[in-house]
Symmetry: C3
Subunit: 343 residues, 3 copies
Amino acid sequence: MATAVVLRDLARRLGAELHGDGDCLIDSVATLHNASSGAISFLANPHYRKLLADTAASAVILSREALDDCPVPALVVDNPYAVYARAAALLNPAPPWSGGVHPSAVVEPGSHVHETAWVGPQSVIEDGAVIGEHVYVGPGCLVGRDAVLGESTRLTARVTICHGVRIGRRVIVNPGAVIGSDGFGLANDDGRWLKVPQLGSVLVGDDVEVGANTTVDRGALDDTVLEEGVKLDNLIQVAHNVFIGAHTAVAGCVGISGSARIGRHCMIAGGVGIVGHLQITDNVVITGMSMVTKSITEPGVYSSGLAAQPGDQFNRNYARFRRLDDIARRLQRLERRQKSEDQ
Amino acid sequence: MATAVVLRDLARRLGAELHGDGDCLIDSVATLHNASSGAISFLANPHYRKLLADTAASAVILSREALDDCPVPALVVDNPYAVYARAAALLNPAPPWSGGVHPSAVVEPGSHVHETAWVGPQSVIEDGAVIGEHVYVGPGCLVGRDAVLGESTRLTARVTICHGVRIGRRVIVNPGAVIGSDGFGLANDDGRWLKVPQLGSVLVGDDVEVGANTTVDRGALDDTVLEEGVKLDNLIQVAHNVFIGAHTAVAGCVGISGSARIGRHCMIAGGVGIVGHLQITDNVVITGMSMVTKSITEPGVYSSGLAAQPGDQFNRNYARFRRLDDIARRLQRLERRQKSEDQ
Amino acid sequence: MATAVVLRDLARRLGAELHGDGDCLIDSVATLHNASSGAISFLANPHYRKLLADTAASAVILSREALDDCPVPALVVDNPYAVYARAAALLNPAPPWSGGVHPSAVVEPGSHVHETAWVGPQSVIEDGAVIGEHVYVGPGCLVGRDAVLGESTRLTARVTICHGVRIGRRVIVNPGAVIGSDGFGLANDDGRWLKVPQLGSVLVGDDVEVGANTTVDRGALDDTVLEEGVKLDNLIQVAHNVFIGAHTAVAGCVGISGSARIGRHCMIAGGVGIVGHLQITDNVVITGMSMVTKSITEPGVYSSGLAAQPGDQFNRNYARFRRLDDIARRLQRLERRQKSEDQ
């Protein structure tokens, strides 16, 4: 699928400062270590600077500090990784497709599919759904009744968008993801659980990405909201009425309980659990496998995930933990004794 | 989809005591805060009692204690949240559908689909499967050979029911859920893993709900069992031969290992892990992200999930934890010394 | 589906030493406790040896030590559980199927499906895909463009194999699994996340099994790799560029972050999290719900998962943990004081 560009043109399109011969043809991206002729590479982590000397790349995207060590043509930029991302996209455009509906798809008559949109094989577009311009609905997807997909959104394959969900522009939803399933709303009625109808929906902003097999539940009464630029990795559970602020990134296997409100520009690492009905302010980082049980009002890093030790050491330590309150009390006793001796 | 009911009739149908004008028309449910005219709201959590004064709801479901603060017509009941759930269901009936098979569905000739059941687009009903009365099989589902779906069960969309699984009445299975996939049965054979055939099935009782992308494995020899009224949230893993007792609720991202036996009326919070081959008695609550490693024989609350702290504090504490056995020994040494001084 | 075999023949086919009457007919497998006439059972765990006396099984697979306690015909072998697995497979062959394409499947003209392979209802085989000999593609699967499935591989149902993924021989992929979705590659560009194109693929070796709703992401530039014999349970997240060595088994709900390299013959228990860009050597065991944050260079057992206690005990202990650094400092103070008294 890769295309080819002269380095000089690439520099211009990326807004980069060209150093060295601009005439070579670039047709691919690669790591410094694995690059061969025709590839452009990048140096984002100074740790790998020593790899510049031996790279076989035809050019490298890097920051000004690293320029002197680069034996091949270079594109100097402020943020090499972001510019690399743009170069990679430019050199590897998505396979071409055109508007239309695959004959095996089921498009119900009350729906509206824009003529520039594609509806792939075995997909189902229910009554009242609206599929915008240049939307790509891959194979085996479901777009439920009255759901809306904004311009240039992409359901890669086997995605479920439930009824009434509204999705913005340039959103990517990966295979197996489910957006708008019923939230876990239960009322206890004499020991039995009664289902509480889930009457809200999900509102997904522009430029959101949702990972494979991730689930985002519809709200109970109001909507679950993913603001613009939110990025969700795979196998994440977002419960009903959660709000995730713009440009927050959430790694795999995270669970976010009902009505939690997460700020903007947060980073939530893998395996984190977030309790319901709390608020997390902007610019908060939660490290791996931590559990957030209270609102966080100050930006910063928060943790409770334990790092593995050799099992016998860990078991000895944890055996002590199970009596830590007792240990603390005994320490206090010794301290009081000491104090009384001092008087 | 909402329907409308006169408040007096609603009171009668819900078995509630009407206070105030029973003639107003109710057409929706809403929170106290967001309600507008025509909506009925509810007060379940006394914390929100102060919102009664300013609500624009046409009526409120509440308990007797709160009646005096309610400026609008009220339905007095013992369990406002459960009655709200019933009111919400009554006012928001599921969209109507009738029996039949969508032309794009594949219904194998050896299966039996009741004439009142619906089989949606792109679904597959395999040989020997039995689809009961008023069952709704949404788009893109698979019902494997010899599987049985009881009366009024609902597979919302893109659900996988594997061969031979038996599902009760009024069960709801949400999108992407997989019931009856092979358990993780492996025999080590000189360092290689040999697959152990998974010959049991899954038995799902009446009124169970299974969340989106949740997986329930079939038994190795005997069956995996979800008793009646079990409620499973999204992204839960239920391994082979697990037994979950009636009316137990399990929140998202929980993993339950093979042959664990969980009692009735338990509540298992998000992210919990349960080790295999143990038993948990009835009425046990496991808090978020805990790991259950031994049988629990007494009802009550059990925990091992850690709450997040600011990262640098946590790291300092955890560094000490990693030497906690040493700390405890040093404390014992001081205590012994103290004791010997005392003698 | 079960077939029937004379015990003498079964012994021969399993390479087992027959003790007792070899003429009885065996038509099923069962546990010692639930077996009835015609069933062969097994004793793998010495703990259950006492069940031999009362078993109604027609024969038992066991090791030499247990032979004296066995009142029925026996097959003596070194590894009873592995031999049981083989017997169970032999007595319960998969339902027969023959090559072909279901009329509802979509097989794009540029793909190649071997004449002995089966493509089930509602499946999609995209352009350039290659489906090998005796491959079984169950209902509702997607095999993306240029993906390759090796001989005798089985996609059970509703599996997603993304473009360009290469899968070996005798691989089993369970329902809802997604192999080759985009990795979570993001470049921060002034507070917004830019998608980094994911240009690598996934390489899956022979005899791998992938569990239901598990996700394996494609590499960013190089490939994500599952070596031969790797076994993944359900709801596991394998991020981009992860490498898992041969014959490693991973239990449910595990998350493995990008570029982690895991050795051969490892066992990773449920709910474990593994941080990215680290290496784990061969023959490592990680116990349940642990988090691996650093490379592991020595074989052995590693842990950080906490076992649940009664909630009030746990809360008291954890309250102390939150001040553990302070506790340790106070202990040091007492020790120093003690020491100065000693001098």
